[in-house]
Each structure stands twice: as C-alpha cells, then as structure tokens.
C-alpha cells in the first residue's frame, strides 16, 4: 500500500519528467563522445571508411611537428585573447558596477545587443574595416601614424581581434557579477586603514574578484581553441587553430579517426583547465550560463 502510494506520488511523475532528457543525454551526448573515443583508436580504408581495429597511430600523429606548431599557435592565440579580454573587460565591468542602476542597465543592454545578432556577418565586416584600403588604414594614414597602408587582415593579430570581438562579453559578464557583489565597505575599510588606491586594488579588489577572472578566462580560452570560423574569416588560413585541423579531417580529408583523436586531445585540455579552475575554488555553475 505504502509502496503503491510512493509509486504514484513520486515515481510516475519523476519518470515522465526525466525520461526525455535522460534518453537525449545518453543517446546524443554520452554515446557520441564514447564513439569518437572509440574511433580515435581506429584506422580507415582507402575509401575513408572507418576500420575497427585497434591502433595508436592517430595519437602518434599528434606529435607531428606541424601539428605541434598548430597546437602552440592555438594556445598562443587563446592566451593572447584571454589576456586582452581581461584587460578590456575588467575596467569596463568596474565602470559598469560603479554607475547608477539605470546606466548600468543601459550599458548591459548595449553590451549584449550585438550578440543577439549574427556573429558571422559582424565578423565579416571587420574585413572591410581592416582591409589594405579600408577605413582603419585610411584613418591611420590621415593622422600620420603610418606612411604606408599596413597588412592587417589575414594575420595572427586579426584572428586575435576576431576572437576578442566574439568572446568579450563572456569575460565581462562573470567579472561584472563579482565586481558588482563586492562590498563597498571593504574598499572604504582598506582606505581607512591607510591603503592607497593601488594597494587597495592589489590587496582587496583583485583577490576578491579573482574567481570572476578565472571563470571568464575559462569561458574565453576554451572556445578560442575550437573557433575555426574566426581563423577562416580573419586569418584566411594563415593562422591555423586546432579547430581548423579537426574540421578539415571531417569535412575535407575524411580521416575521421584522426580528427577524433585531435578532438579527444581538445577534451583533455578542456578537462585539465576546468580541473585547475575547480581546484582553485571555482564553481562549474559560473561557467557558460549567461
């Protein structure tokens, strides 16, 4: 009797509510990831079909010098992007947190507004701005900063710019959250105890907002490794990312097992970074959700 009651009261509604997501997560997240783990140890035949026999050659190929240089290029771009995002987003989030509620809302809306619209077309129009005869070059020539138009597109710098442009809000949001929560009293207390503004920043503000910096860095760094379209649009193939190589294996070279091995490496890098993040006290919940 008791059991039937629990069954009706809890089990039936629970199963109704939870089974769709369970099926979806198992079939479309867990299994696919396991499957690419499996094929990363497989080979291919001449027609690019996957052949299920165990091999490590896909992983051995990861240590190829060209691949290693792409990895290092990828990491450098991700690192540069993260650092620039912090340098821009920190003061911006600080300004946003210290203004009036109305202005804050306004700043937030206009920060997010571009991200409600197509990112590809916004990225693409940077090509117009940065071209050899583009407006940025014209402006620089006019104010005499340069004598000759400079090649800005299709460089590593352009890729980093595109990344910063695409990912900046993901740094601003977590930073704004921590800075906004900062108790103004701590600031005053530090000042009251004789600390000059720089010291207050180093001893109080920075340590207390570090979790936001870490969360933002994870949210910027990891996507950077995979955003091959940014490299395509801004780098024009000159500055390759891990994502470009993976995408090529699946769409052009049709060496899926090798692509899978590259993806597994990407997962491992991600897990390592997230592990470091949680070890230093970061919360998974602060990642990703806007």
């Amino acid at each position: 009797m008791q059991d039937r009651h629990t069954f009706r009261k809890k089990t039936v509604p629970l199963i109704t509510m939870i089974s769709p997501v369970t099926a979806w997560l198992i079939l479309l997240i867990a299994l696919p990831l396991l499957y690419i783990l499996v094929i990363s140890f497989c080979g291919t035949d001449d027609a690019h079909n996957i052949v299920f026999h165990f091999t490590l050659k896909n992983y051995a190929k990861l240590f190829d010098p060209t691949i290693l240089s792409i990895y290092s290029n990828s990491l450098v771009i991700a690192l540069l992007t993260t650092v620039i995002c912090i340098l821009v987003a920190y003061p911006f989030a600080y300004i946003m947190a210290s203004t009036t509620p109305f202005r804050k809302t306004l700043m937030m809306i206009f920060l997010m507004l571009p991200f409600w619209t197509n990112s590809i077309i916004r990225l693409y129009s940077w090509r117009t701005l940065l071209g050899t005869n583009g407006y940025v070059n014209l402006l620089l020539l006019k104010i005499g900063l340069i004598q000759q138009p400079i090649e800005m597109l299709f460089t590593r710098g352009a890729v980093v710019l595109g990344m910063v442009y695409t990912l900046l809000p993901f740094m601003v949001l977590p930073l704004h959250t921590v800075i906004d929560k900062l108790d103004g009293g701590l600031h005053e207390a530090s000042s009251d105890l004789g600390a000059k503004p720089v010291k207050t920043f180093l001893h109080i503000t920075l340590p207390l907002t570090a979790p936001g910096i870490f969360a933002g860095s994870i949210m910027v760094f990891i996507p950077c490794l995979g955003y091959f379209f940014v490299s395509n649009l801004m780098g024009g193939g000159t500055s390759q990312l891990i994502g470009n190589v993976i995408s090529r294996q699946f769409k052009e070279a049709f060496n899926w097992p090798y692509g899978a091995a590259l993806a597994i490496m990407l997962i491992l890098i991600t897990l390592l970074l997230v592990r470091i993040y949680t070890k230093t006290g970061g919360k998974i919940d602060d990642l990703g959700v806007m």
Binding site: W24, I109, I120, I121
Partner: protein, 276 residues
C-alpha cells in the same frame, strides 16, 4: 578641491574608455548597415547611396531560403528544448533520485567542452546509424546543446520558489497536473521564457554545430555567409543582415525597457510597503 578634480578626471576617463569599447563593438555593425546602401559591389569604401541591394535581396531565393531554414531550425529546436529542459529543471528541483548527479554532469558537457567536439561527435554518430543529414539532424543537434541552457536558466528561477505554494494548491484540491500547469509553470514562466530566448539566439547564431550536422542541400544563414566568403559576400547579404539587426534591436530594446520598468515598479512598491 584636489579630490573633486580627481573624481572628475576619473569620470572622464571612464566615459572615454566605455565609448571606445562600444565603438569596438558597434563599428562592424555600422559597416554592415552602411554598406547595405553602397553602390559599389566591393565592400571596401562607401561610394554612393542605393536601395538596389534590398531589391536584389528580395529575389535572392537561395539567401532567403537559408534564412527561412535558420528560423525553422531555431523555432522547432527551441520548442523541443524548452519543454524537455523545463521538465528536467522541475524534476531535479523537486526530487532526489539515483542518477541525478550523472544527469547534472552530462548537462554540463555541452556547456564546457568546445562546440566543435560535440559537432563532430554528433556527425560521427549520425553517420554510424545512417541518419540523413539535413534540417532534421540539425534540429536534433541544436536541441542537444540548447537543453542545458534551458535547464540552468529555469533552475535559477526555481531556486527562489516556495514549495509550500504547490502544497497549498494540492491542499485546495488541485491534482498533480493541475499544480504543474496552473501553479508551478506560471510562477517560473519568466525563467522559462528567458531560457527559450537564450536557446533561440544560440540556435540562430550557431555555426560550428550546424556546420557538421547539416546536409549539402539544407544550409542556414550563417553557413550561407561562410560559403559566400570565398567568392566575396555581396551587399544583398548586408541588406538582409541589416533588416535582421534592426528588427532584433527593436525587439530586444522594447523587451529590455519593459523588464527595466517592471523592475522599477517592483522596487517602488517594495519601498512604499517599507514606508508603511
């Protein structure tokens, strides 16, 4: 007076800095809008005003079809993801059950791992079980990365939910389904709506997952642009983008202003209550 001057300088620097950040964010958008009216086909410098690209866009069936696909995929996937995600969030809020932490863990995967990994994993499995690639496979793929965002947004809203409200409804004779549809869902509706809006935007702007999970004959607007990049994007794409951008701006601004006003009203009534 030294202090006042310092404060003024700080204010000035803040304004200049914010202005530069917004210039950085909006310059490309300005370019899109400006060049949609450009007489030159080459997107290099603005040479003269014309509306021709808007006319051309209206007859560019391939372009319009790709945009239609984008809307269709986003609409259907958002609907599915919102239903599944909302049920999941409510179930996880209400019940303790075995496997809850595993579901939680699986939900975080699409949020944390690079999209490209999910993209190729789905592509591999689709081809393994011979799912034809097209709008259907893309919708399934989009739902996969949308679900977690809906769950997390709805869950955030639920965290402030008082369960005794549900109990009160039951006490007054509402059955479980009535409680869910008449009490719980209306109360958490703002969370569900913002989850759905987030899911919709993620879908509409998605490039990477779509790139791997769509077939040759069903392309979306972002993918179409990627395709055109090689041959050069003609200004009719800018024209369509301009319309989309302006429409989005209007919708977002109106909704944000109404949210802000609602918040202000809530604050004011709270203040009045306090004064009493």
């Amino acid at each position: 007076m030294r202090k006042k001057r310092k404060a003024a300088a700080k204010k000035y620097t803040s304004r200049v800095f914010s202005a530069l950040v917004y210039l950085f964010l909006y310059a490309p958008i300005a370019v899109v809008i400006l060049f949609s009216f450009n007489t030159s086909r080459r997107n290099v410098l603005f040479e003269g005003f014309t509306l021709d690209w808007y006319k051309q866009m209206a007859t560019n069936h391939a372009l319009l079809e790709s945009f239609g696909n984008t809307l269709a995929v986003a609409g259907v996937s958002t609907l599915i993801a919102t239903v599944i995600g909302t049920l999941t969030a409510i179930a996880m809020f209400r019940y303790k059950f075995r496997g809850k932490t595993i579901i939680d863990l699986l939900l975080y995967i699409p949020v944390v791992i690079p999209e490209i990994v999910l993209g190729i994993a789905l592509l591999s499995v689709f081809s393994l079980v011979h799912v034809p690639l097209g709008l259907g496979s893309m919708i399934v793929a989009h739902v996969t990365f949308q679900i977690p965002f809906v769950v997390f947004t709805v869950r955030a809203r639920l965290s402030g939910f008082d369960r005794s409200i549900e109990e009160a409804a039951m006490d007054l004779g509402a059955n479980r389904v009535r409680v869910l549809t008449g009490i719980t869902i209306p109360i958490i509706a703002p969370g569900i709506v913002s989850g759905a809006v987030l899911a919709f935007t993620l879908s509409i702007d998605d490039i990477i997952i779509s790139f791997f999970t769509t077939g040759a004959r069903s392309t979306t607007f972002p993918l179409k642009i990627m395709e055109l990049v090689r041959s050069g994007v003609s200004p009719d794409v800018y024209a369509l983008s301009t319309i989309i951008i302006l429409a989005t701006f209007v919708v977002v601004l109106i909704s944000q202003i109404s949210v802000y006003k609602a918040n202000q009203r809530a604050l004011k009534s709270k203040y009045k209550e306090k004064q009493k």
